[in-house]
């Protein structure tokens, strides 16, 4: 055996020792479940032996007669101790390998399509690829990113994206909270109400866009028909072609579709609040509105945060609905980055420019989710 190899073995041994100490440390909580100290010890050892799949008879003896095993262990402390450690070690190694068998294939598939594709997208955004050919990966620069700054339609789309994100998220949260509070009043047919409020979430954006395009129809759409019926003819507008209301048509329809989701999240939050908090507020003589505002809503912060993250990220990638309602050119008053990216890349074959816009969207999404995930992680909620 060459010296370098033996040194390597030595190092492996040291690492193993460390792993063992870690493993036995982390294993202690599991062992604490045993009743007697003998039982605990026994459980730990027998597990190692059994799973390592070695001495069949030894395993049997362990299972049938635990105390004898412990005594034997104590008797030949050093040799058995080492053997157990070795087996423990091998077992941990096997477990890690076997765990990999489970998570690696899905992770590879997902990793390639998500992270591989994003990296590739970034590289494409550095080229100047457009038209029918293939990208030229030889000359990479930030030209496409500079181009955005001079592009007025990019500025408009970015502004609309932020407006959509803020108003839609706020609107869906408020409506969802209201629905949740109403549904949480111990009402009859609660399930029916909940089911119907959440129903739009089960529909495709293609479907809802077609429904809403009909709702917004200036002549025979329901909104204008109802407004005329109420004598509010002045407010009956050409909703989908008036630049002032275009973005609003999208926000209203998406709020309709997503408020049920917020309701579900808030309902879970409301039901996690202990009864005593309601009762305490009641004893203090607080009015219902005051109780919700001062006592209940502040306790819904976690629900609000997680729903808001989902809504904001959705607002960034909202595509299907706007595409079906307005096509790839909604005009400067309703254009958003998700639509612009698709238009530049797939309608105008400005692939590199489209990829650069997509990177901006990705970074915006990252700016929203990274703090969220980090906080979750720090709180140990993962």
């Amino acid at each position: 055996m060459s010296p370098s190899r033996s040194r390597f073995r030595h190092r492996v041994r040291r690492v193993r020792e460390r792993v063992i100490s870690l493993v036995t440390g982390s294993g202690s909580d599991r062992r604490e479940r045993g009743n007697s100290s003998n039982g605990r010890r026994d459980q730990g050892d027998s597990e190692d032996l059994a799973a390592a799949g070695t001495d069949e008879s030894a395993r049997d003896s362990v299972r049938t007669n635990g105390t004898a095993r412990v005594a034997a262990d104590g008797g030949t402390a050093t040799s058995t101790g080492f053997r157990v450690r070795d087996r423990l070690d091998r077992l941990r190694f096997n477990e890690t390998l076997q765990a990999a068998l489970f998570w690696v294939p899905p992770a590879l598939l997902m990793g390639w399509f998500v992270y591989g594709a994003i990296s590739w997208n970034f590289v494409i955004s550095l080229t100047d690829w457009s038209g029918l050919g293939q990208p030229d990966y030889a000359s990479l620069n930030l030209e496409m990113y500079w181009r955005m700054l001079d592009d007025r339609s990019f500025i408009a789309a970015a502004r609309n994206t932020v407006a959509l994100l803020v108003v839609f998220t706020g609107g869906a949260l408020v409506v969802g909270l209201l629905l949740a509070i109403l549904v949480d009043q111990d009402i009859r047919f609660e399930n029916t109400f909940r089911t119907i409020y959440l129903l739009p979430m089960s529909l495709s954006f293609v479907v809802t866009a077609i429904f809403w395009a009909w709702m917004y129809n200036p002549e025979t759409g329901m909104i204008n028909v109802v407004l005329r019926g109420l004598g509010l003819e002045v407010f009956a507008m050409n909703w989908m072609s008036d630049p002032r209301t275009k973005l609003a048509t999208i926000i209203v329809a998406l709020t309709w579709q997503f408020s049920g989701y917020c309701m579900i999240v808030y309902l879970a939050g409301l039901r996690a609040i202990p009864d005593e908090h309601y009762e305490a507020a009641k004893v203090d003589g607080a009015s219902t509105v005051r109780m919700y505002w001062r006592v209940i809503i502040p306790q819904l912060r976690a629900a609000t945060t997680s729903a808001a993250v989902v809504l904001m990220v959705f607002a960034l990638k909202a595509f299907d609905f706007i595409f079906v309602m307005y096509g790839t050119t909604p005009g400067p008053s309703a254009d958003i980055l998700a639509i612009m990216m698709f238009r530049e890349a797939f309608a105008r074959t400005n692939w590199a420019y489209g990829s650069a816009i997509a990177m901006v969207l990705f970074l915006m999404a990252l700016a929203i989710i990274a703090p969220y995930i980090y906080v979750q992680y720090r709180r140990g909620e993962l």
Binding site: P106, A107, F211, E279, K282, A365
Partner: protein, 328 residues
């Protein structure tokens, strides 16, 4: 839940009781009288409150159903009728027709079949792979899994726009149609296979997160006991974890089916031949081709929505759980 809600419902009425309580220094009779009065006042107030609550709830119900209602009535009207009547009113006897449904179905049947063809494999595969990954990341002790898990979690939130161009490049480099040349029937459907694989890959993160949340609740003792009996990791998964996962499979399958069926973006990018159009894509085409024919458009919309609507009505609870899982 009920015990909490019941007292809360009459918080407003409680103000009345306090008023009475404030004057309770007076004689016994008077006190009882007043409390009786307070009691009936309270009932009145509760009644009015409850009434207002239900009225609000029903109005909201109407509001939430109105786009579907206006679509449904329109889908059953003739062209003349829907242009001249309110979308609120059901079709009059002389303006009633099922022709739009019939025609929309005829135009979109092929796309509905295409959708079934790719959605079911993608749903099952993504759920199964999610379950595998969650088991590997949850039930087997090894360090560093939290880092991997974070990658899965972030994968849930990725805006798909940031992968579209590479996706197109990838699927034109990996030419499934020529790889499948030996089976012409499959090769002609290569677009749909690409779509199934793509949806599987992007479904894995959310499925993993959903299953992980569930596996954390499985008692470790069952698994430890199996280990003591010498069961391998694979065996434990097959014999213990998989059977226990049935309820979560219901949630994940329903959630994924709805998501994948409803998607348009990936189909727009990956499906190029019109005979491979999926349901949402065909509906979008129908809307573009039948401008102004709202009855036909609405019938088409309902046809595309039907599978997810039925699943939602039957399995609403599981769908809601899937949605809840997305927010952690």
């Amino acid at each position: 839940m009920t015990s909490k809600d019941a007292p809360r419902a009459d918080t407003g009425g409680n103000g009345g009781t306090r008023d009475v309580g404030g004057e309770s220094g007076a004689g016994d009779d008077q006190n009882r009288e007043q409390s009786m009065e307070g009691f009936s006042r309270r009932i009145g107030r509760i009644g009015r409150r409850r009434l207002a609550l239900y009225v609000t709830l029903v109005l909201l119900l109407a509001l939430y159903l109105s786009p579907l209602w206006s679509g449904f009535t329109t889908s059953l009207k003739t062209a003349v009728t829907f242009a001249t009547t309110s979308p609120l009113t059901p079709p009059p006897p002389d303006g009633f027709t099922v022709e739009p449904w019939y025609e929309a179905w005829g135009r979109m049947r092929f796309a509905m079949i295409n959708s079934v063809f790719f959605v079911i494999p993608a749903t099952v595969l993504s759920a199964f792979l999610g379950s595998l990954a969650a088991y590997g990341l949850t039930k087997i002790d090894w360090r560093g899994q939290i880092g991997i898990l974070l990658l899965f979690l972030a994968g849930v939130f990725i805006p798909y726009q940031s992968v579209l161009v590479p996706l197109r490049q990838f699927w034109s480099a990996v030419d499934l149609a020529s790889l499948l040349a030996f089976a012409p029937a499959l090769a002609a459907r290569a677009d749909l296979l690409e779509l199934a694989i793509t949806h599987t890959a992007y479904g894995i993160p959310i499925c993993t997160i959903l299953f992980r949340g569930y596996y954390l609740t499985i008692d470790d003792e069952i698994i430890e006991a199996a280990k003591i009996d010498g069961a391998s990791t694979i065996r434990i998964y097959r014999r213990i974890v998989l059977p226990l996962s049935k309820p979560m499979f219901a949630v994940t399958l329903i959630y994924q089916f709805t998501n994948i069926w409803n998607d348009l973006l990936f189909a727009l990018v990956l499906v190029t031949t019109s005979r491979n159009f999926v349901a949402t894509q065909a509906l979008n085409e129908l809307q573009g081709a039948m401008v102004g024919q709202y009855n036909l458009q609405m019938a088409g919309a309902f046809i595309v929505a039907m599978p997810t609507l039925i699943i939602y009505v039957v399995f609403g609870r599981q769908f809601a759980r899937g949605l809840g899982g997305e927010s952690g």
